[in-house]
Amino acid sequence: MRLLRLDSLAGRTVWLLVGSLTLVQAVSMVTHERAFHAMEEGGMPDRLADRVLAAAAVAAHSLPPRRAEAVAALSLPRLSLSWQAEAPAAPVGPGDALAGRVGRLGSDAVALGDPAEGRGALPVPGAGWVVFSARAPGPHGFPGDPAEWLSLLAMALGTFLVALPVVAWMTGPLQRLAAAADRIGRDPREIPLTTEGPIEVRQAARAFNAMQARILRLIEDRTEALAALSHDLRTPLARLRIRASFLPEGEDRARMEAGLEELEAMVDSVLAFFREGRDAEAAVPTDLVALLQTLADEAADAGQDVAFDGPARLVLPLRRVAARRALRNLLGNALLHGAEPVRLSLRREAGMAVVEIADAGPGIPPADRARALQPFVRLDGARGGAGTGLGLATAQRFADAAQGTLELDAAPGGGLLVRLRLPMAG
C-alpha cells in the first residue's frame, strides 16, 4: 500500500507525523515522571527516620512476645524492620553515616556493615534493638505503569488513523499528475488535470496542463504536416498508377507497378500511424476469430505458411478497421522480417483477449525490443529492410487506444512472438 511505503511521499508524511508525535509524547511522559520522582525522593529519608523511630516506640510499648511481630508489621517496601533482643554483632559504626538514607535517628543509632547497604540498628531502652535496612531509591528510568504506555500507543494509533486519509487527500493530486504525465504521448487526447489540493500542487497541475497543451499542439502540427504530405503524395501516385497501365505489358511495366504499390503501401502506413486513435471509428462488437481467420486465409492463399488456432468464436468491442490494419501489419511484419511458418493464436485470459503472432525468424534480442516499438525504427534497416518502420508502432498505438497492451517476446522456436492483449469489455 502506497500510504505505508517509506519511499513514498505519503508514507513518509504519515510516518513522520506518527513518529514525531509519539516521540514528543514519550519524552514529555518521561520528563513528567522524573520530576514527580525527584519531588517524592526529596522527603524520603525523613519519612523513613520517622518510621524507624515509630518502630522503636512500638517495641517499647509492646509486650515482649509480640515485639518482633509488631515491629516487622511496620515495614515499608523500601524499609524492612525487625526486632531482636541482643545487640547486633556485626561491626558497628556511627548512626550518622546513614543520614542520607534514613535521616537523623539520634546518637544511639548505629550503622551495620557498609553504610552504602543502608543497614543499621536503634537501641530501644530496656526493650532490645530495632534493626532496619533502607534500600536505595530505585533508578527513576522509564515509567513502569502499563496504562501510560497503553495511552501512548492509543495516541500513536489515533494519529495514524487520522493521518492516513488526510495525507492521501493531500498527495492524491500528485499521483494524478504523475498518471497524466505518463499518458502524454500515448493517448493522443488532451487530459486536463483538475486543479485541486494544496497551492503547490494546484500550481503544478496548472503548469502541467499548459505544458500538455503545448506538447499536443506541437505533435498536432507535426502530424498534420506529415499527414498532409503523405496525403498529397497520393494524387501523383494515383496518376502514375493509371499511366503505368497504359504502358505495353512487360517486365518494365510489372516492375513499375510493383514499385508504385510499394510506395502506396508506405504512404498508407504513414497515414495509418498518424491517424491511429484519431479517427472517429467507434468500437463495435466484433468476432476477432473471423478477423484473424480471414488474415490467415488470405496469407495462405498467397502461398505463405500461415495458420490460425483459437476458439470457434470470440466477440469483443473493437474498432474494426483499425484492428484489421494493426493485425495485418503484425502479420506482414512476421512474414517480412521473420520467417515462415507464422502461427496466429487467440485465447482468453483474465478478462483479456490475447492474440499471439509467432514467426520462425531470428527474433529480436530483449535489449532491442523497446526500440523496435518506436516509430520509424527499422532494426534490419542497415541490411536494406523494406517498410517504413511503422508497423509495430501503429499496432502499439492501436493497443494503447483500446486500453490493451502490445509486447514482444521470444517464440518457442526462437523467432519473434508479438502478444496483443485487448480488454474483453470495452
Partner: protein, 242 residues
C-alpha cells in the same frame, strides 16, 4: 446485356487525373464525359438528351463537395454513382454509402479493379436480376444480416463477422439463389460477376468451408450451408430483403 457504349460522367477537379480516368474508361470501351465540378455536371445533365449510365464522382471537389452532389443526384433519380476518395478514409466511405453511392473506390486504385467495379455497378443498374437483388441494402437470413453496400456481416447476436472478398461474393451468390441446389460451376459463375473473386484460383469447396466456419462456428450452430452429395451446395435459410 451490357451497353458497350455506356456513357460515364467523370467529375474530377484534377485535370490530369480527369483525363487519365477518361482515357482508362475509353480504352475499356466506355464513352466517358470529363467534367470539372458539380456545376459543369449539372449543366451537362440539363442539356443532355439522355441521362448517363453512371457517374464517377470525386469526393474532394471545389465548391459543392462530392457528398452534396451525390445527394442532389439521388434526389433527381436513380443514377448509379461510384465515389472516388482518398484511401483509408473510412468515414468518407461510410458517409458516401449513406449518401446513396453504389460503390466506393479509393485513390490510388489499381486500374483493373476500377474497371471491374464500373462493370459491376453497370450490370446491377442494367437490370441483371441476380445483380439487382444485390442492390438491396440489407439481406436477412436466420438472424444474420448482410449489409451489402458496407460489405458487413452481422451475426444474430450483433457481432461483426469479418469476411474475405471471396467469402463475401460467395455468400452473396448464395443469398441470390437461396434454398436451391447450386453446383460449384454455378456458384463460381455467379460469384465471378463480382469483383473480388477475380483472379482467385481457389476451389469453391475451400471458400465454402471457410464461409461455413464463420456462419456455423459451433457444433450447436444451426446449419446454414449444406453439401448436396454429387450436386453442390444448398443455402438452407430463407432470405429477406430490406
Amino acid at each position: 446485356m451490357l451497353d458497350p457504349e455506356a456513357c460515364i460522367l467523370v467529375v474530377e477537379d484534377d485535370g490530369e487525373m480527369r483525363q487519365l480516368v477518361a482515357r482508362l474508361l475509353r480504352e475499356a470501351g466506355f464513352r466517358p464525359v470529363p467534367l470539372r465540378d458539380g456545376r459543369e455536371m449539372f449543366g451537362w445533365l440539363d442539356k443532355a438528351a439522355a441521362p448517363p449510365d453512371l457517374v464517377v464522382l470525386d469526393v474532394m471537389l471545389p465548391g459543392a463537395s462530392g457528398f452534396d452532389i451525390c445527394r442532389r443526384l439521388r434526389a433527381r433519380g436513380g443514377l448509379p454513382i461510384i465515389m472516388l476518395t482518398a484511401r483509408g478514409d473510412e468515414m468518407d466511405r461510410v458517409l458516401g454509402l449513406e449518401m446513396g453511392a453504389d460503390d466506393y473506390v479509393a485513390k490510388p486504385f489499381a486500374p483493373r479493379e476500377f474497371i471491374a467495379r464500373v462493370r459491376a455497378v453497370l450490370r446491377r443498374a442494367g437490370g441483371d436480376p441476380a445483380a439487382a437483388s444485390a442492390a438491396a441494402r440489407r439481406l436477412h437470413f436466420a438472424g444474420w444480416v448482410l449489409d451489402v453496400k458496407a460489405r458487413e456481416l452481422l451475426s444474430p447476436d450483433g457481432a461483426v463477422v469479418d469476411l474475405s472478398g471471396g467469402e463475401f461474393d460467395l455468400l452473396l451468390a448464395f443469398l441470390e439463389y437461396p434454398q436451391r441446389v447450386l453446383s460449384r460451376d454455378q456458384l463460381l459463375e455467379v460469384a465471378r460477376g463480382r469483383v473480388a473473386i477475380e483472379g482467385a484460383e481457389r476451389t469453391v469447396d475451400v471458400q465454402v468451408s471457410r464461409l461455413r466456419r464463420k456462419l456455423e462456428p459451433d457444433e450447436s450452430s444451426p446449419a446454414i450451408i449444406k453439401t448436396v452429395r454429387g450436386a453442390g451446395y444448398i443455402f438452407v435459410p430463407e432470405v429477406a430483403r430490406g
